[in-house]
């Protein structure tokens, strides 16, 4: 349905922005929910997870788009997985080298980027069918959309659960933390809250467009 489904179409703004809003991987397509729930207990963790996933998305989009005419259809999924796994392993080592604290906070979820369907979905649905430039821009948009979603969830959870945002105290020392928001149920509460907000905004917009068209 997107305007860029054909290979020869020129790059448009939608190539980039569809991942941010219209096809946001978490809030609209409901992909990659496992990391979105599991490592979104603080805004910093969420941001790190988002950046790591964006890097994997960019790298795999680039390589898959480059190799798209060389990989036979029958082994494409296996090839995509190997390529994605390579970048995930790289990210894993790099984060481990950059900060031990961050590495411990993200835990097994860095390795689990490999099964994030938002990434394999991009490889299958976009990168394997488009030119390198398109694939990179689209992958970057999707990565940003994923990061945005994680930070939105992580931000709310951190504000309520710790009284801080990106580690900066918002309410002073007397703040009563809402422990439940740091625990797994809090992830579900906040994610569903954002899903409701996004759905409401989308419905409003569609209603307006319909009214406009008529």
């Amino acid at each position: 349905m997107s305007a860029t489904s054909s290979k020869d179409k020129p790059m448009t703004a939608t190539t980039f922005t569809e991942g941010l809003w219209k096809e946001n991987p978490v809030f609209v397509m409901l992909l990659g929910l496992c990391p979105a729930l599991a490592v979104s207990n603080t805004a910093v963790n969420a941001l790190a997870m988002g950046v790591a996933s964006t890097f994997v998305l960019l790298g795999s989009s680039l390589l898959i788009s480059l190799l798209r005419n060389l990989i036979p259809k029958q082994v494409r999924i296996a090839s995509y997985i190997i390529i994605i796994a390579t970048f995930v392993t790289a990210v894993d080592y790099i984060i481990h080298a950059l900060s031990l604290e961050l590495y411990n906070a993200l835990g097994a979820f860095i390795q689990l980027i490999v099964v994030n369907c938002a990434i394999l979905g991009r490889a299958e649905a976009y990168a394997s069918k488009h030119k390198v430039g398109h694939a990179l821009v689209n992958g970057f948009g999707m990565g940003l959309g994923f990061t945005l979603a994680l930070v939105l969830v992580g931000g709310v959870r951190e504000i309520l659960g710790f009284g801080t945002l990106f580690g900066v105290s918002l309410f002073g020392a007397q703040f009563q933390p809402w422990a439940v928001f740091i625990l797994p149920p809090g992830g579900f509460f906040v994610l569903s809250f954002w899903l409701v907000v996004f759905a409401a905004v989308r419905r409003n917009r569609e209603r307006k467009e319909a009214a406009h068209g008529a």
């Binding site: 309410f171 007397q174 703040f175 009563q176 809402w178 422990a179 439940v180 625990l183 149920p185």
Partner: protein
């Protein structure tokens, strides 16, 4: 609901006006049945509990009304069910619970526990318990901070933690405790004393409610009176209450018989914590409990057994809330499995043969 009489034909003298038992009417009578309990808990804990009752009830009604309005439906607050949720919630929170946290729990209970499902009749779980479960998970320490009952000056001053500024930790109550000078007050409920210190509390104190606890769980006697009133008026399924209390009594009796030095006596189990309140007013919620008579027994026994198991072997000292929530969750399945055989239909095995 077994509102209709057993006789196939009813003979009455005129006037032949029959008033059907409506949801609204049942709910109103549940509120009546809870009033003595409320009065007693206000007498015990004073202004703070009165405030909790008022605020919780108002917030529950307000939340339901607002959500109805936002979703463009007629308001359903006139069926009294939101008021019941509010009263119940206030009765199962600690008396000195900060008002702002009570507001949050009430909004969560009604919004997530009831209205998101589609309102009364569609919710799976008891909204008051959902609110309390949320409070337990979010504000663990305030939820386990208890104050002594019958404190002097309770009708003229609030417990300091009641008026905590929003989003802040509860005001410390140590100074206030010193001031009212209650000797040997540890802030532990009878259940906590049992679990961590192996100390039992006298049954008479448990019956009348001169103990520490949340407002409504302290007097088993008044809860039973309220329950009896509803049973006599046939507005409550007595099977659920009886099976919860009975199974909890029997199971804890068995443990007590095996080793009375570790396990509490069955009477202690019956009269402590929220078991009585839960069995009479919360598990019997018509929406969350099975609709068949056989199902009611299964449901009640499940809750009773779970309560005892959580209390004796779990990490928490009180398990009624989770037991009822689990029972609520299981009740559609119980209803389905205990449907009576259709008249004239053969049993499965016979039908096959």
């Amino acid at each position: 609901m077994s509102a209709s009489s057993d006789k196939p034909v009813q003979l009455h003298t005129s006037p032949h006006l029959h008033q059907p038992l409506t949801v609204e009417k049942i709910m109103r009578h549940v509120v009546y049945a809870m009033l003595p309990m409320c009065a007693w808990s206000v007498y015990q804990f004073g202004l703070s509990v009165l405030m909790l009752l008022i605020v919780c009830t108002a917030v529950c009604i307000g939340t339901e009304h607002l959500i109805c309005r936002w979703s463009g439906k007629p308001s359903t607050v006139n069926d009294w069910s939101a008021a019941i949720t509010g009263i119940l919630l206030a009765l199962i929170l600690p008396p000195g619970f900060p008002i702002w946290m009570a507001v949050v729990s009430a909004v969560f209970g009604v919004a997530v526990g009831k209205m998101f499902w589609g309102g009364l009749g569609f919710n799976v779980m008891n909204p008051a318990l959902v609110g309390r479960a949320f409070a337990q998970a979010a504000f663990t320490v305030p939820m386990t901070t208890w104050v002594p009952s019958m404190a002097p000056g309770r009708f003229t001053q609030f417990i300091p933690s009641t008026w905590t500024p929003p989003l802040m930790v509860p005001r410390p109550i140590a100074e206030w405790l010193d001031q009212i000078a209650v000797d040997g007050f540890t802030g532990a409920t009878p259940l906590a004393l049992m679990k961590y210190n192996q100390e039992s509390t006298e049954t008479l104190a448990l019956l009348t409610g001169t103990i520490t606890g949340s407002a409504g769980e302290t007097s088993a006697l008044l809860i039973l009176l309220g329950g009896l009133y509803l049973i006599v008026r046939k507005m409550m399924d007595w099977r659920i209450t009886v099976s919860i209390l009975g199974s909890a009594f029997i199971l804890s009796g068995i443990f007590y018989w095996v080793d009375p030095t570790i396990y509490p006596s069955p009477f202690f189990t019956l009269f402590t914590g929220g078991l009585m309140l839960g069995a009479v007013f919360m598990a019997t919620d018509m929406v969350g409990s099975p609709e068949t008579a056989k199902g009611a027994w299964v449901y009640g026994i499940l809750i009773g057994v779970l309560t005892v198991i959580i209390r004796l072997f779990g990490g928490l000292n009180e398990g009624v809330m989770y037991a009822i929530l689990l029972g609520n969750a299981a009740s559609p399945l119980i209803s389905k499995m205990t449907q009576p055989r259709k008249y004239g239909a053969l049993k499965k095995r016979e039908a096959k043969a």
